[in-house]
């Protein structure tokens, strides 16, 4: 079986105008939603309390809300979580009440209402911890980006490093844009997914760059554009198959991973889809824009016999 039967190199580079427009548009949209709507930050970052309560029968959300209002927690949010019997309660951080007391009081009142209420999970994060997690997350993002640029610059050339990381940060911004637009909860695990995606989708660029380097050595007569087009075309099937395989696992996580892994898997899905797009249609045009040339890769004194073109 062979999915991709491509006779000639696909002229990806000549689509530069369109792809750049699409990228810019999605990027601007993502930034727009990030600015206007903002991220729906989870309790990890904002501080506060999250409780997951499970009932024997369908949970009566309104009753739970009333109970909380009676406790003086009108700012609590109550919603179903996964099934109709599971409820998630979010309480914003309160400086005047310790977390220990807060969750205990809620549990006690809920149990009074309905004896079957069972606590599945309580998470409390103090405001100072939340702030640190934000700082550490931003720092991790920075270190990963710099590390990747440095590695690509060392292994290839600085133009490759720069275009690789721009393409992938573009993915990150788009993932964040999705999270802002749909107001999906942005938690620590989602951050982990984004950083993993950053490392993973750089793979994609690396594979293409590898081919470009090889082609520069082999295709002596070809123009830069031809070299890049050939590299992309010849790695196409690998790109699709690899990402397809990774996506199979991620889909399996979406279906079987439950609520806890839901947004993690969603972030990965968006990351994988845009990862394909950006490494092919963003990184390479950027590379051309930065003026990559054969001399960047092939040292003039090193003369190899050019192989025949396929």
């Amino acid at each position: 079986m062979e999915f991709f039967r491509i006779k000639h190199d696909i002229p990806f580079m000549s689509w530069g105008k369109y792809t750049t427009t699409i990228s810019l548009l999605t990027f601007v949209l993502a930034v727009f939603f990030l600015v206007t709507k903002g991220l729906n930050l989870g309790v990890d970052f904002t501080g506060g309390t999250v409780m997951e309560v499970s009932y024997a029968q369908t949970a009566d959300i309104n009753k739970i809300r009333d109970t909380l209002i009676k406790l003086g927690m009108s700012d609590a949010s109550v919603q179903n979580f996964g099934t109709s019997r599971d409820v998630m309660i979010r309480l914003p951080a309160k400086p005047d009440m310790s977390s220990a007391k807060l969750s205990e009081r809620v549990i006690a009142s809920l149990k009074e209402e309905d004896k079957t209420a069972e606590i599945r999970r309580v998470e409390f994060v103090g405001p100072q911890v939340g702030k640190e997690l934000v700082e550490n997350g931003a720092l991790a993002l920075l270190v990963v980006s710099l590390g990747i640029v440095a590695y690509l610059a060392m292994r290839f050339e600085w133009k490759f490093g720069v275009s690789g990381i721009i393409a992938n940060l573009h993915d990150v911004v788009i993932i964040l844009g999705f999270f802002a637009f749909f107001q999906w909860e942005f938690s620590l695990t989602v951050l982990a997914a984004i950083l993993a995606i950053l490392g993973y989708s750089v793979n994609e660029s690396v594979v293409v760059f590898d081919r470009i380097r090889e082609n520069f050595r082999r295709m002596r007569k070809a123009s830069v554009e031809q070299v890049i087009n050939n590299a992309i075309t010849r790695t196409m099937s690998r790109t699709i198959i690899t990402h397809g395989s990774t996506q199979m696992v991620v889909v399996s996580m979406l279906f079987f991973g439950g609520e806890a892994l839901h947004y993690f898997a969603l972030a990965l899905t968006i990351g994988i889809l845009f990862g394909i797009y950006s490494s092919v249609l963003v990184a390479s045009p950027l590379l051309m824009l930065l003026g990559v040339s054969r001399e960047d890769i092939v040292r003039p004194e090193k003369k190899e016999e050019a192989e025949a073109l396929p």
Partner: protein, 614 residues
């Protein structure tokens, strides 16, 4: 020809074997157990204790499925959790306070596996259920407490040396001693300088008064804070032992934070209560010289405080502390002569001496026993001293419930916290959610793997199957490695296992595509295999290193669950390079490497542009 030297095959075989052995314990599961360990160093876990445990269980008609004597304790396995809980209660009441009886889970793997150190993966709290707390030590509180101690000591020294002073105040981080003349101040100054090396002393003249201001030296300040954290950790450890938790983790995190993890704890409210409490005991005298009714109107006399006795009326208590909880050797809950719940205290030598002197000097007067919790003092009881009490045995009874008596005894026994602590992060996972999470992580990996296996075998035929086997080896090695390292496996960690599967196949896809490419270019099969593997290797290395960079950064900056994700991701990258490149190549070499005439290899249809006909 594609042949591996035999040492390479040996390496592959040995690593697969090791992976198998160390992965094995994960399949046996765990059974409920009770762990018994002596709390004091004087008591030993020996065959006598084993006999006692055995007898107690037999008497209660509770069957064990295995019992072991280990260094530091006895572990007994049970068929189900009902028997386990009954056994815990039975043993706790038979053995008493000297032993910790905790619920635990023991791996069911056979003895020979355990003896070579093959254990199941160490599950994080989100998978096994339990509580995670991060506590912040209140450093201001630690300093304030130290200053209190210094003030009391300075008072004592001045009195001992008969140096007259007119007052002693604590203002912020300063202790101010007031004198009537400069001679006594000079005397006091030299005395304080001599005795208290940790204090800086400065002279001040305020109006007609002669002041002496003492402040903590910076190095002493730091020392106090460090030792406050250390003492709090020790106290927490004592308290957790009293709670009966198997395998608790209590460690310092940063300058002023402590992380406490209690796996399997169900009663989180109780755990929080016991951990956070800063109970200590103070014995003071009741002020009977001043007018109580005036004090009730708001005119509280100098050097006294107004309190309400538990279940009784208001009373004035002198500020001066005679005896503190530090002097307590042991505390036990019990009953007094009237069959009321009571706490029996056993004081150390010094405490016993002070207490005897106190009771001897004050026969007929009332003393007050105060319980201080979270900076709030409560008079538990204020009895009239009937006679001199020697021997250091004190009984406190004052309208408490049995439960309260037990908690107070526990807190006094475990020692006081050097400084108050606040819970700044809490993560509680119920046991049912933990089990669900394991199932979710397992299913994600299973179905993801199955989907990839089906696809790869259809698309790349035999080479696809080889890739799938290599992927299986990768999973085996990863789980074996995690089991050997006993790294904490969390739900994000399980997600990372699944993700590793999805990402590791990339290497094999790269290789297989390369081989097809070379075949398409007209290369001979053997040469195509060789060049496919060689050429893909550079790319595989590059692409994995970028992911490794992300993994390491996540490990460095991540906390808790994210760290678990990072560990698995990094290990998974390492095992995947090995299995995808070395193991799959080994299999290919074994199957095809020796064939002299290899016309075509089953890697699926290799399509060539129509212009070149085969």
């Amino acid at each position: 020809m594609n042949r591996y030297p035999s040492w390479k095959y040996v390496i592959i075989a040995v690593s697969i074997l090791l992976g198998l052995i160390y992965t094995l314990p994960n399949f046996f599961g765990e059974s409920p157990a009770v762990q018994i360990s002596p709390l004091r160093t004087t008591a030993k876990a020996d065959t006598a204790l084993l006999q006692r445990v055995e007898d107690a269980l037999k008497q209660a008609n509770l069957a064990t499925t295995g019992m072991f004597l280990e260094e530091g304790g006895i572990k007994a396995r049970f068929a189900d959790t009902d028997v386990q809980i009954k056994a815990r209660d039975t043993l706790q009441s038979v053995l008493g306070n000297g032993y910790m009886v905790a619920l635990n889970l023991l791996p069911n793997s056979p003895q020979w596996l355990t003896s070579i150190g093959a254990l199941p993966m160490y599950l994080g709290l989100d998978l096994r259920g339990g509580v995670h707390f991060m506590l912040q030590v209140d450093m201001k509180g630690a300093t304030a407490k130290a200053l209190d101690r210094f003030s009391a000591d300075i008072r004592g020294s001045l009195r001992e040396k008969k140096i007259p002073y007119s007052g002693l105040d604590k203002r912020g981080s300063q202790i101010i001693v007031k004198f009537r003349n400069s001679e006594s101040r000079a005397q006091a100054e030299s005395e304080i300088r001599k005795t208290y090396a940790d204090l800086n002393v400065r002279e001040d003249n305020v109006g007609s008064e002669f002041h002496l201001t003492a402040t903590l030296k910076p190095e002493a300040h730091k020392l106090i804070q460090d030792s406050a954290v250390q003492q709090n950790i020790t106290t927490l450890r004592n308290r957790v032992n009293e709670l009966g938790v198997a395998e608790p983790i209590i460690q310092q995190a940063g300058a002023d934070r402590v992380v406490v993890q209690l796996p399997g704890v169900q009663d989180t409210a109780k755990a929080k209560d016991i951990l956070g409490r800063t109970a200590t005991l103070e014995v003071r005298m009741v002020d009977e010289e001043h007018d109580l009714s005036a004090a009730l109107r708001g005119q509280i006399p100098f050097g006294a405080e107004l309190y309400t006795e538990r279940g009784g009326g208001p009373l004035l208590v002198k500020k001066q502390v005679v005896l503190t909880g530090d002097r307590i050797n042991d505390a036990q809950a019990g009953f007094d002569n009237n069959n009321q719940p009571a706490v029996h205290l056993n004081l150390d030598n010094n405490g016993a001496r002070i207490f005897r002197q106190l009771t001897k000097d004050n026969v007929g007067k009332r003393m007050a026993i105060l319980l201080i919790e979270k900076n709030q003092a409560e008079v538990i009881t204020a009895p009239v001293i009937r006679e001199e009490i020697g021997g250091g045995r004190v009984q406190i009874s004052g309208r408490m419930t049995t439960e309260e008596a037990r908690d107070v005894a526990l807190l006094l026994r475990a020692g006081a916290l050097a400084a108050p602590m606040d819970i700044i992060e809490e993560r509680t996972v119920g046991p049912s959610l933990g089990a669900d999470n394991i199932a979710r992580g397992f299913n994600s990996t299973l179905y993801g793997f199955a989907a990839i296996a089906v696809f790869m075998t259809i698309y790349y035929v035999v080479f696809g199957f080889i890739s799938v086997v290599a992927l299986g080896v990768n999973l085996l090695l990863l789980i074996g490695l995690l089991s050997i390292m006993q790294a904490t496996l969390t739900l994000p960690g399980m997600a990372a296992i699944a993700l590793t599967i999805g990402m590791a196949i990339d290497a094999n896809v790269l290789i297989n595509e390369r081989i097809r490419d070379e075949l398409r270019a007209g290369m001979q099969p053997q040469a195509a295999i060789n060049s496919g593997y060689e050429r893909a290797f550079g790319t595989i290395l590059d692409s994995n290193i970028t992911t490794l960079i992300a993994g390491i950064a996540l490990f460095a900056f991540g906390t808790g669950p994210v760290k678990g994700f990072a560990v698995v991701l990094c290990l998974g990258i390492l095992t995947s390079i090995f299995s995808a490149v070395v193991v799959s190549r080994g299999m290919v070499n074994l199957m095809y490497g020796n064939r002299r005439k290899l016309d075509r290899i089953p890697i699926g249809q290799v399509w060539k542009p129509a212009t070149e006909k085969r």
